[in-house]
């Protein structure tokens, strides 16, 4: 956003030609007319005299469809003309957005639901009042319709644009009436992506597509393992490449800066950089052992429930250990950032999920005030949590400062694979105890894993915060089943490699272990896995686990729905099987999957059909929700059956989609999606929640097809060969 709100304010005052409505940090509706002093907005809308409705949002678009769904919320109450809505990305540091949060955690719909509709309704009411005054008719006789105010009796019609000047003079209604859901024409109706035309014509501009005059390209040779120091390099060879302008050392490595990406990459290869020192000890196979040993320890207790009356003695205990590997995010657009450092000012163009943090970190790295850093957020070619880290922006800023020119750094795919902020490996030790009548009496789950270290490892003080350990163990402590004795724990294990949030953060590994082990327990008592889940979700309807509240009725409902839609129980052919898994994501969105697989004699697993039952609250955009499920199924399929990141000598071993394989078209199953008929009055998140339960459903289906219980991801064909 290049024009600040103050500029708009001034122009509104000068021409009287815009209606502006924003929200402060507490989501209180603020009328422009009554605003004075510094305010903190999370979004604002502007309707100008041409009738264009501009919605400025802080949520960044990475494919989750947030621009479309937020615009739908506004359009619904405003009765806007969909084709006249323009989305503008907020910049941190503009007067209206001094601090911007991150886009992650699947909360955009929940947080936008009330304020955006209220703003739309307020604007609508003001426009109606302005029209009624102009026509000198009762406002009850007027209504908003597709970007205009209409007078029912006379059929007169005034487009929004012709009313904004008068509307802006009116007082902002404090509690504007919201529409009856039965009158919704956007919310709940399939709405196509707002920027689809740009995407199919190649006009959509991602970070990598940003261009400013005089811009140079950089490619950076980074320390290959933690603490490595540059020992030897051939600067002359790099400088001999036509188009190479400079070779510069920065804190993170040595960069070749050139007139284009090719000379930069070519020059970088010719540096033939050699590294010395540092810590080359990290090895993922050894780390797996460390984690497994740790998971047998006591750890930090997360949730302990003991029945008031001790049940009968446990006569049989089932135990298992599940192993979860490292993964890369590998969004299709690799990390990149354009930085233009001039004196003590810096302008950034970055595909980022975390523009506010990026601004602070760049300012700190350059030693300037955050106010001196302007961040422009571009479209992202996928995010998945990787772009919550800001390492690539720090690199761009340092290089730009060194060469005194605007510089765009572009990571190669190998850079992206080897210098990720990986999804961390973990180990899960589980046990279940039965009495003589096969009643499940006890559940134990200890996860050994690692805290994020995007901004370095957590301070000791931080680790003492309430729920700190619990947040690293989503899906562990919140086991939803009714088991008399529950004990869950977390063991933190140091990890020198950078690791951070990945789609669904800490939950995928936990839910994989929990839902697979639950099947083992069902098998131990000869129960049907789906029926056993329903049985173990009986009892108290609403339970509290740590900071999470789970409504078991919602989990039961999605399980019953998926059972009825998936042919559960119907026989399948040889080496074919069905698996089930469910999860309540942080107590919110509930999803159950039934997966059908066919395992070839060569051990190749084909996921043939996935049936999903979803309760994500009120569905704002059915297409958006379906896309998130389709995406999560393929994401989970990749992590269950395709690539992992391994480390040897402190270095990630994978360099492209050739050795970190991901799901392709031929792997794509038939996906059927079913929504609960009455899911509630407000929306819940959908970006992350569909991810955790898909992997265990696949692994459970493989067990059903082959009788082989595999406890280590990703699953390899050789383990399943006939």
């Amino acid at each position: 956003m290049s024009t600040t709100r103050r500029t708009f304010l001034k122009s509104a005052v000068l021409t009287g030609a815009s209606l502006l409505i924003g929200f402060d940090g507490t989501r209180r509706l603020l009328g422009e007319a009554v605003t004075s002093g510094p305010i903190r907005l999370s979004k604002w809308i502007r309707i100008d005299s041409t009738g264009t409705v501009t919605l400025t949002i802080q949520e960044a678009e990475m494919g989750q469809g947030v621009r479309t769904s937020l615009a739908m919320l506004l359009a619904e109450e405003l009765e806007a003309d969909w084709s006249r809505i323009v989305i503008v990305q907020a910049s941190p540091g503009a007067p209206d957005f001094p601090n911007l949060g991150s886009t992650g955690g699947s909360d955009s719909m929940e947080s936008g639901w009330k304020p955006l509709r209220s703003a739309g309704a307020a604007a609508r009411e003001m426009l109606i009042a302005a029209a009624a005054a102009r026509w000198q008719v009762a406002r009850a006789e007027c209504r908003a319709e597709n970007g205009a105010i209409v007078h029912g009796k006379s059929g007169r019609r005034l487009p929004f644009g012709e009313l904004v000047a008068e509307a802006a003079q009116l007082e902002l209604p404090k509690d504007p009436p919201l529409k009856d859901p039965k009158d919704f024409r956007f919310i709940g109706h399939p709405t196509k992506r707002i920027n689809a035309l740009d995407i199919v014509t190649g006009a959509a501009s991602y970070g990598i597509d940003t261009h400013v005059p005089g811009m140079l390209s950089a490619s950076l040779e980074r320390a290959p393992w933690p603490g490595a120091k540059l020992a030897k390099w051939d600067e002359k060879a790099a400088l001999a490449v036509r188009g190479v302008r400079a070779v510069v050392s920065i804190s993170n490595g040595i960069a070749v800066v050139a007139d284009g990406n090719w000379p930069a990459q070519k020059g970088r290869a010719l540096l033939a950089a050699e590294w010395t020192g540092g810590d080359q000890s990290f090895d993922s196979t050894k780390h797996r052992q460390t984690l497994e040993t740790a998971s047998r320890g006591r750890g930090v207790l997360l949730r302990k429930e003991t029945p008031p009356v001790p049940p009968g003695p446990v006569v049989r205990t089932i135990e298992a250990t599940y192993a979860y590997p490292f993964y890369a995010h590998a969004p299709l657009e690799t990390m990149n950032c354009l930085a233009d450092v001039r004196g003590d000012h810096c302008t950034i163009w970055a595909p980022t999920q975390s523009s506010g943090r990026l601004r602070k970190r760049v300012a700190a790295a350059l030693g300037v005030a955050p106010e001196n850093v302007e961040v422009n957020v571009t479209l992202m070619g996928g995010g998945f949590g990787r772009r919550l880290a800001v390492d690539y922006a720090l690199e761009a800023a340092e290089i730009s400062r060194a060469v005194r020119a605007p510089v765009q750094i572009l990571w190669t795919r190998a850079d992206d694979m080897q210098h990720g902020h990986f999804q961390a490996a973990s180990s899960h030790r589980l046990s279940g105890g039965f009495d003589a009548q096969n009643a499940l009496l006890s559940w134990r789950h200890t996860k050994a894993g690692s805290f994020h270290n995007l901004d370095g490892p957590p301070t000791e003080e931080k680790t003492k915060e309430e729920n700190f350990h619990i947040y690293a163990a989503w899906g562990v402590y919140d086991v939803p089943y009714a088991i008399p004795s529950i004990e869950t724990a977390y063991v933190p294990v140091d990890l020198p490699m950078k690791h951070g949030p990945w789609r669904a953060v800490f939950a995928p590994s936990s839910v994989f272990a929990r839902e697979c082990f639950f099947d083992e327990l069902a098998g131990a008592v000869g129960a049907d896995p789906l029926a056993y889940r329903l049985k173990m979700l009986e009892g108290v309807d609403i339970i509290k686990a740590g900071p999470t509240t789970i409504d078991r009725r919602r989990l039961r409902a999605v399980l019953e729905l998926v059972q009825s839609k998936s042919d559960w129980g119907k026989p399948l052919g040889e080496r074919q099987g069905r698996g089930v898994a469910c999860n309540a994501y942080f107590g919110g969105t509930c999803i159950a999957y039934v997966v059908e697989v066919r395992v070839g004699p060569d051990g190749e697993v084909k996921v043939e059909r996935v049936v999903a039952a979803v309760d994500c609250g009120l569905v704002v955009n059915p297409i958006g929700v379906e896309q998130q499920i389709e995406g999560a199924v393929l994401w989970g399929l990749s992590s269950a059956l395709k690539g992992e990141i391994t480390f040897a000598g402190g270095l990630a071993q994978q360099k492209s989609f050739a050795d970190f394989s991901v799901a392709r078209m031929k792997d794509s199953p038939k996906i059927e999606i079913h929504f609960l008929p009455n899911p509630g009055k407000t929306p819940l998140g959908m970006g992350e929640p569909p991810v955790p339960p898909i992997v265990p459903a696949i692994v459970n289906a493989i067990f059903a097809a082959t009788g082989k219980r595999l406890r280590q991801l990703p699953i390899r064909a050789e383990e399943l060969r006939v």
């Binding site: 689809a196 995407i199 014509t201 990459q265 070519k266 992202m380």
Partner: protein
């Protein structure tokens, strides 16, 4: 180092660059045709796919020296008003999520439909599996290809 002449989107272009420059960087950096995306640089993801004589080729695998005298179409040149049946089908099936891989996917689909006017699912698998989408849009790409195929057949009648 030399001047290379090639045709892009029906226009003759003269580019001064080293002969080993991959075509993707000629398109993106020299000709400002940034709809062609960088995804891997080693020919395994398909994001940089463009058309040559209607056939999908990987622009990261063609050195500029080899591109001389050849004719290419990028996503920007596929149609005048975004009205190619594939583009229309992509919008109609709401295929894109982040959209980054989609120019390459669309052009790969154009090439597939040239070879197989009515592709079966396994023909779609065989051709489209060379391209990576990390958002998981494959089910919708499949539907969009079938839709575009039907539209092309209708137009041919």
């Amino acid at each position: 180092m030399s001047a290379i002449e090639l045709s892009v989107n029906g226009k003759l272009q003269r580019v001064d660059c080293d002969g080993d420059t991959p075509l993707i960087w000629v398109l993106r950096d020299s000709l400002a045709l940034r709809g062609t995306k960088y995804g891997c640089g080693v020919g395994v993801c398909g994001a940089c796919t463009i058309l040559e004589e209607g056939r999908a080729v990987r622009s990261c695998q063609i050195p500029a020296a080899d591109a001389a005298g050849r004719k290419f179409i990028t996503i920007e040149g596929l149609s005048r008003d975004a009205d190619h049946p594939c583009q229309r089908a992509w919008i109609e099936e709401d295929v894109a999520q982040c959209g980054f891989c989609q120019p390459g996917m669309i052009l790969t689909a154009c090439s597939l439909l040239r070879e197989h006017a009515t592709p079966t699912d396994s023909e779609i698998d065989a051709v489209m599996s060379d391209s990576v989408c990390r958002c998981g849009t494959y089910p919708r790409i499949r539907k969009a290809i079938h839709r575009a195929s039907a539209e092309l057949r209708k137009a041919a009648k």
